[in-house]
């Protein structure tokens, strides 16, 4: 069994009753308690100051160093149904967004505590669900209203970051600009030609919009051409969420990427290359695709460097035994021969044939998405053909696009027009790992600067940390990717949540008052309670993030949050003032420069994480029994399960 060293609170109760293949819980919300307990695992991975966790396997003694909620669940052995459900939800979030799973899990826990409280107060399940759905709609409305257009952001902040005053940065969440951003979005929608790239002329169009000029036209008019790059850097800074180094790499990558096209950040053209043994400061971004090669292959690369190469792209393995997916090898085939076989090796024959074909087509480089057999690599090395295997499918596609090559499944399929041209190979001596048993050489494969491919080199002296560094990089990359895709961000550092809390409470109060005026009755009272408890869940989220910074205690965090909520009750710019609160809390003793940083969150990621959290909660809330299949009599009796 594996366990996290910080174990969840012991409120987990295993279901009590069961049938041969069926368990029935007594009608208690055990599932909700379990969900809340599982969510506690995510507490320390919230916010900018994340804690590492060791996950240790007691039986094998292996351990893993993890930093994100997604990796925690990946490394745990989950046996309960609710845990499995949580894991599936977190995986779904991770698959699409690559970020936000911590937030998802925390809120699933916080809101399941809210639901538990509702159940204890005797509110029916259907009312809890409809109340929470209403609450979610309110939150979505808030998210929509307080989202800031990314274009607007570039305009608000001039590119000399240091001169920006506190107040200016906070203006962003005010009402008029939100409208502006929508207006500009609308504008872009209508001029379908100009919206592809945010060139200066596109900006001028927006600037001339009568809405857009009002609040901060002076900044817009001074926005120079390279501001797009800066704009991204500013947004990226706000989205770094504590992973500054990783985000810097992303920004560097975007800058390289911008030369090609700019309005989006295409994550599919990014490769990460992990080099253990170098200090973390050596991490960098380089155009092209960088791979680590063995010495033998490196010598081939040395011969090929600085000359235009012809490339073959293989979609599958490069070996004589490989057959495409779905090909079934017949079992009953016997080979008979009339004369004594002279030991002609099938693999040898195939390899010679393939190498001859490659030489005939003048191919110097083969990129293989699967594995290449050792024999082929050796043969190719002798003939000075470089074989690179385990290339990501998206990279193979990028090479196909850039070199006009056509990926094929079998090497024997190759013809003249399948072969791509114009690839260059370059050896990077500075990046050679070689710290351990196998020495390796970094080789950069590029297509002359027009493919848009680039490699992020991640380095660390601590091998176990590399995975976490890679995860952090991808989380940052996807956060920026989604921000540019949404064309909007949310005010971060808890400001959005605060605004949601404010609106939820307001609505709760309205619900109470309609109940008193006897128009609604008990339903409205219940709705008020549900909304209020939902808001408490969000407060819990904000205060946990504050606690994780290590500067305030839980109690103080909560007091500060509720004080601020009371003080600013009814003010429009509550979000602006509150975001400041977080920063103050975080930066009491740090230098003044970092306190000027605006923090942003992703719109779609946050909304989707919240929705997934609620969906998960609703499923668990409506569940009253577990059916376990394949339980044998003995264990069933042992675990006090009811057998059918």
């Amino acid at each position: 069994m594996k366990h996290v060293n910080i174990s969840p609170p012991s409120t987990v109760q295993t279901p009590a009753v069961m049938l041969r293949s069926t368990v029935i819980n007594p009608r208690q919300p055990v599932g909700l308690q379990e969900l809340a307990a599982l969510a506690a695992v995510a507490h320390s991975s919230l916010g900018p100051d994340k804690r590492y966790k060791f996950i240790q396997d007691d039986t094998s003694g292996e351990s893993a160093l993890v930093c994100s909620c997604f990796r925690i669940f990946e490394n745990l052995e989950l046996s309960s149904a609710v845990a499995q459900l949580v894991h599936e939800t977190v995986q779904a979030q991770q698959k699409v967004y690559n970020t936000g799973s911590g937030c998802l899990l925390f809120l699933a826990g916080a809101w399941s505590r809210a639901a538990l409280e509702c159940v204890h107060r005797g509110i029916s399940v259907s009312r809890i669900i409809s109340g929470m759905s209403d609450g979610f709609d309110i939150c979505v409305d808030v998210l929509r209203k307080c989202s800031i257009s990314t274009d607007g952001l570039g305009a608000v902040k001039p590119y000399s970051c240091t001169t920006t005053s506190h107040g200016l940065g906070l203006q962003v969440s005010k009402e008029p600009i939100t409208e502006d951003s929508r207006a500009s979005l609308h504008l872009r929608g209508t001029t379908s030609v100009g919206h592809k790239t945010l060139n200066p002329s596109g900006h001028r169009k927006i600037k001339l919009s009568r809405h857009f000029c009002q609040p901060d036209s002076k900044n817009v008019s001074t926005a120079p051409q390279p501001h797009q790059v800066f704009n991204v850097a500013h947004i990226a800074e706000g989205l770094s969420h504590g992973c500054v180094r990783a985000m810097n790499l992303v920004v560097e990558a975007v800058k390289l990427h911008q030369d090609v096209s700019c309005s989006t950040f295409d994550v599919t053209k990014v490769v990460t290359c992990v080099v253990p043994g170098l200090p973390e400061e050596r991490a960098c971004v380089l155009p092209g695709c960088i791979v680590l090669l063995s010495d033998e292959q490196a010598s081939v690369a040395h011969h090929l460097k600085d000359q235009p190469l012809k490339v073959a792209l293989i979609n599958g393995d490069l070996s004589h035994t490989f057959r495409h997916l779905g090909f079934s090898r017949p079992a009953g085939v016997q080979h008979v021969s009339e004369q004594l076989a002279l030991g002609s090796d099938e693999e040898e024959v195939w390899t010679v044939k393939v190498v001859a074909l490659l030489l005939n087509l003048e191919v110097n480089l083969i990129l293989v998405s699967g594995l290449a057999s050792e024999k082929v690599i050796q043969h190719c090395c002798r003939r000075r053909v470089l074989v690179v295997d385990k290339v990501k499918a998206s990279i193979l596609k990028a090479f196909a696009d850039a070199t006009a090559g056509v990926p094929v499944t079998y090497a024997t399929q190759l013809t003249k027009h399948c072969v791509g041209t114009g690839v260059k190979v370059e050896i990077r001596r500075d990046l050679g790992g070689g710290s351990e048993r196998k020495s390796s050489t970094a080789v950069n494969i590029s297509t002359g600067g027009n493919s848009g491919l680039f490699t992020v080199i991640l380095t660390s002296c601590v091998r176990g940390k590399l995975q976490a560094l890679e995860d952090q990089f991808w989380a940052c990359a996807y956060r920026l990717h989604h921000a540019l895709k949404d064309r909007a961000v949310l005010p971060g550092a808890g400001a959005t949540e605060m605004l949601c809390v404010h609106h939820l409470r307001q609505r709760a109060v309205t619900a109470y008052s309609t109940q008193e005026s006897s128009a609604g009755g008990a339903a409205d009272l219940d709705r008020g309670v549900v909304l209020h408890l939902m808001a408490d869940g969000l407060i819990d989220y904000i205060s946990t993030v504050m606690v994780n910074t290590g500067r305030v205690s839980k109690v103080r965090a909560r007091t500060v949050v509720s004080q601020q909520l009371q003080e600013h009750d009814g003010h429009v710019d509550i979000a602006a003032k509150l975001s400041q609160l977080m920063l103050e809390g975080e930066n009491e003793d740090s230098d003044s420069k970092s306190s000027e940083m605006d923090v942003y969150d992703n719109v779609s990621v946050k909304q989707e994480a919240w929705r997934k959290a609620l969906d998960l909660l609703f499923l668990v809330l409506q569940t009253d029994a577990e059916v376990i299949t394949g339980v044998d009599q003995a264990t069933g009796a042992q675990e006090n399960l009811m057998m059918l």
Partner: protein, 491 residues
């Protein structure tokens, strides 16, 4: 074959219902079923003991299929309910609840087994004959002139499964789509025997339910293999459909052994044959080349380079709709030349994007009753339940063609029937009892038990500890809002 374990002597047990263990298991099964029943029913998490995939459901077909018991009695009930569901799609939970409740009531009543059977059969006959009467008060005739009734019927089926987690608006949307799909599968003015078309369901995860849609024709998933030239706008495209695998392997050897002399490359020989087929298809101007199974990449490459759209791994489920849509004859072998009559036709091809899925939309050349329903939902669990519910709705709607009546839902039909039986059977107790060969008191006791079984099924619609109110004059059940329509197919 010799036995590894010595055969143990057979054990005969009589009167299984007197066994407390059996009774406990039946009670447990009843709890399991009744707790799932209705729109506010509780969900069950179904998973295996080693932590596999979790299914969240309250659907009898999924739940019962997962259950296996050591008790033959439990298995008997389970399989008969599953048979009912496979035939009618609907009312599996109702059947299970009523059956288990009747067993329990019969046991409690202390009536002799054969008397009990006779009485229940009698009261069931009373109910069925009443339901078939024209003046039956708990059924409504479905009016096919307006879609209102059909949508209400679809809606009551869809809203009965809470694991779909649909809002009011979403429920209505899906109900409308279900009716739309149903109407699209009805062939228009065709003489002779009418055969209904098919609805193909495609699930798209991670999108709002409101993005779900219904299209006439067939949509095929072509994610990742996109290659359509919009250049040629032919009014009809010739297509070719293979049911045989074109993977290039040696198919179904069976027990036999093939001897291959060395130096003969079987793979290359078969590939040559495949390419010959491809050449003929290209010569015959085939624009769409579809295979149920795998197509050899070399053949795919060849066809694509000549502008043919290639779809492989279509799957067995899409074969029949595609045959109906295009009129193609699937080719089951690669050893003959292609016959002209094997080719099918498609009127139009277009690409539709649903989330991460790229779909190729095929429109029929002539009249066809094939449609495709794209179901979207936010996560896999809710999506799989939604798919089940939609298939069930389709079936229920189809059954209305045979018998255009719907019964009142929300427990009203059951309470009404109970009231009817009580009222009807109190007259002439003596004669009926004599006919059935039991005493009057036994007759009355049996009637009471039968009726309370019906009522208790109606009552089990309420799961949150609320009260069930039964209007004694109109025999109306008030727990659920009135006029929820539901169709019960009583077997």
């Amino acid at each position: 074959m010799s036995r590894l374990v010595k055969k143990s002597p057979s054990l005969c047990v009589d009167l299984p219902l007197d066994n407390t263990d059996v009774c406990n298991k039946l009670r447990l099964l009843r709890q399991l079923m009744t707790s799932c029943y209705g729109p506010t029913g509780k969900l069950k998490l179904v998973h295996n003991n080693i932590g596999g995939h979790v299914v969240t459901t309250s659907t009898s077909s999924v739940l019962l299929a997962a259950i296996s018991s050591s008790q033959p009695l439990v298995n008997l009930i389970k399989t008969s309910v599953l048979n009912h569901v496979s035939r009618f799609s609907d009312c599996g939970l109702f059947a299970a609840c009523l059956c288990l409740d009747l067993i329990e009531q019969a046991k409690q009543s202390g009536l002799r087994g054969n008397v009990c059977i006779g009485l229940n059969r009698h009261f069931l006959a009373v109910c069925v004959s009443y339901l078939q009467r024209e003046d039956c008060c708990c059924k409504v005739k479905l009016d096919f002139c307006s879609s209102h009734n059909l949508i209400a019927l679809a809606r009551s089926v869809i809203s009965s499964k809470p694991a779909c987690l649909l809002t009011e608006q979403e429920t209505l949307h899906i109900s409308k789509l279900a009716v739309q799909a149903f109407l699209l599968t009805l062939p228009c003015d065709k003489p002779g025997t009418v055969s209904l078309g098919q609805t193909v369901t495609i699930c798209v995860e991670g999108h709002s339910v409101l993005n779900s849609a219904v299209f006439p024709g067939l949509l095929v998933d072509v994610t990742g293999v996109l290659c359509v030239n919009k250049s040629d706008n032919l009014s009809s495209h010739r297509m070719l459909l293979f049911s045989a695998s074109l993977a290039g392997d040696i198919p179904e050897l069976g027990e036999g052994i093939i001897e291959v002399s060395s130096g003969v490359d079987t793979d290359a020989r078969i590939l040559d044959q495949l390419l010959d087929l491809g050449k003929q298809a290209v010569e015959d101007d085939v624009k769409l080349f579809v295979c149920q199974k795998v197509i050899h990449p070399v053949l795919q490459h060849y066809l694509r380079s000549r502008g043919v759209i290639v779809i492989e791994r279509l799957g067995i489920t899409l074969m029949e709709p595609l045959i109906l849509l295009t009129g193609a004859h699937p080719v089951a072998t690669l050893h003959t030349s292609l016959q002209p009559k094997a080719y099918g036709k498609v009127r139009d091809l277009s690409i539709r994007q649903f989330g991460s899925k790229t779909l190729l939309h095929l429109l029929p050349h002539g009249e066809s009753a094939i449609c495709t329903m794209i179901l979207c939902h936010r996560n896999e669990t809710m999506l799989s339940e939604l798919k089940l519910v939609c298939q069930k709705t389709e079936h229920v709607l189809r059954l209305t063609l045979r018998e255009p009546y719907a019964l009142f839902g929300g427990g009203c039909t059951e309470t009404h029937l109970a009231a009817y039986v009580r009222h009807k059977c109190t007259d002439g107790v003596t004669e009926s009892a004599a006919v059935l060969g039991c005493s009057e008191s036994e007759y009355l006791l049996g009637m009471d038990r039968f009726c309370s079984s019906l009522e208790s099924v109606a009552k089990s619609l309420e799961h949150n500890g609320g009260n069930s109110l039964i209007d004694l004059t109109h025999a109306h059940n008030w727990t659920v809002h009135a006029d929820v329509m539901n169709r019960c197919v009583e077997g």
